[in-house]
Amino acid sequence: MTAVVPMNDVPMNDGPMNPLPITGLDPHARRGGHAHLPRPRPRPREFGLLAIVTATLLLGSASLAATRAFGGTIAPGLDRGLLADGPALLGYLASLFAAHILLILSGRRTDQVLLPTIGLLGGVSLLLMERLPQTLAGGLGLGRTQLVWLALSILAIAVIGTIVRSDAWLRMYKYTWAAIGVGLLLITFVFGHDVNGQRLTLGIGPVSGQPSELIKILLVVFLAGYLSENRALLIEESTKIGPIRLPPIPYLAPMIAMWAIALAIVVIQKDLGAALLFFAVFLLLLYVATARASFVVLGLIAFLVGGAVLYAFLPHVQVRVDIWLDPFATASGSGYQIVQALHAFARGGLLGTGLGAGLPMIGGALPIPALHTDFPFAALGEEMGLVGILGILGLYLVVIERGLRIAASAADDFRAILAAGLSLIIGVQAFIIAAGNLKLIPLTGITLPFISYGGSSLLASGLIVGLLIALSDRTAELPAVTGSAQRSLRRRQNRGSA
């Protein structure tokens, strides 16, 4: 036999000669030539679930309208009728079914549960925003503005779930994405303007948004790239100090950097929620990638140390913790929001007061300040009761379950960690704010995904779910091996041969 040179001149990106027909999979799911469209694939489960969503939301709207007609708490500018603001709800349902049709036309075998679940969450949000004072948002009013953002978010889900066929653009530029994320953070710090003492909002001309919503996605993309490339090393090698197993020293640096970034967000932006979210998702992904509990324990210790230091030095952290420990001590001051939220949950009881029968105003002001962004969970607790909010939490659990299922069936590490990370963002974020509303953990200003009012949050959440749907397509081609994968192997080899 003669020595053979490995063929390194393989086409790097999917050119016409890419030999990738994977047998056993439906040929229609593959990308055809660019001349003809893929054959539509019916999605019966999605349709069935969407039908239930439609019926539920119509019942909810009718219930809201009936309560208003009876109780007379009708908001100005809304008609009496069978449905509360029927056109808005019908427009929202139309956007859901348009997304459904777009996904059918994409002809891909993708997840059919996520869209209806998100549809129900968004619909509940719409019903909630319609009954709050419409003047909270300028222009179209609160309900209509939320409708526009919800429709855009649903559209984003369908478009991303249809067109994203390769993840190469995410995995190849992971350091670029990380740099963009850090850059956005710095820009917000320098040029952002303060809202409620937090420097989160960045305005460019008439458009303003909260970059941290995008940064959390960039963070997960970077972590997926970094952890999938170094998974073997993180598992194999460890530095032992007594009984404690540390990650190998060179790989400790990015983790310390993550911790430092989380702390910097608290100190500079005064945004406890985002810091908590970033760090929690980071630790969870570290565990997902390595299955080493010791790393997580180490991270939690670092978290406690950092938290204690911040509590000692930063007054806004002290306030948050103090009103969590005893909101009634300052019930008419800084603890007011939490006290009102607890009263709202108490008024709701088991079955709730009914949609629209909560206390919309006290003396011309919202009962809970920032209800539409930070306390929608308390409002739902009042109107839908324990039974209702348990159902809402169940919907978030469904999103997490789907994400972890998509991760478990992913073809390679990058996709697995990415899918797990994306669904955990939604799950952890929902937990942080729901638990904050319930006084289970200190309250942090973060949105309840798909329910809180806010365009940045809705669009970012739509992007996340769209990517999850795209990742659930197992027939999507894996990109050819990249330069960084080769470098990663060389590092592994150097250690493995020792």
Binding site: V4, I22, A66, V113, M384, F414
Partner: protein, 145 residues
């Protein structure tokens, strides 16, 4: 008036019932999905997908479900038969040890390559890595669960 109150109560309860009907339907879908995954024959811990194979054995595009120990080579006793003239009889072995896959070259004439780099001794693998033995190129993928 009593009729109105009853109607409002009914609508409220129906709304909550709709929420739970949705959850129940979703859970049924999820359980069916999980059962289908659990009843899959065999417990595979990884897959090998054939990217390039000039001889036609194995067929390009074929996917092999891997056990914890898999040997590759031209010998008929190899777990995965690679009928290529540049592949040795017992060319390489793939082993799954706890958390990671490893590739071991079994003293082949032409060597084994991972992502284009030659393997000496035992190389830890990541899912998505491309393996090359002779003219045959394969990709290690995660198990389908």
């Amino acid at each position: 008036m009593d009729g109105t109150i009853i109607a409002i109560w009914l609508l409220r309860l129906l709304f909550l019932a709709g929420l739970y009907l949705f959850l129940w339907s979703v859970v049924r879908v999820l359980l069916r999905d999980l059962r289908a995954a659990a009843s899959d024959p065999g417990i595979e811990v990884g897959r090998l997908v054939v990217l390039e194979s000039p001889s036609g054995e194995p067929v390009v595009g074929a996917g092999f479900s891997l056990d914890a120990v898999t040997t590759l080579g031209r010998d008929v006793n190899a777990t995965i038969l690679l009928d290529d003239e540049f592949v040795s009889a017992m060319h390489a072995a793939l082993t799954y040890r706890g958390r990671l896959w490893y590739l071991e070259d079994l003293g082949s004439t032409n060597g084994s390559f991972v992502n284009g780099s030659p393997v000496d001794g035992l190389a830890p693998l990541a899912f998505g890595d491309e393996l090359q033995f002779g003219n045959v190129r394969l990709r290690l993928e995660r198990a389908r669960r």
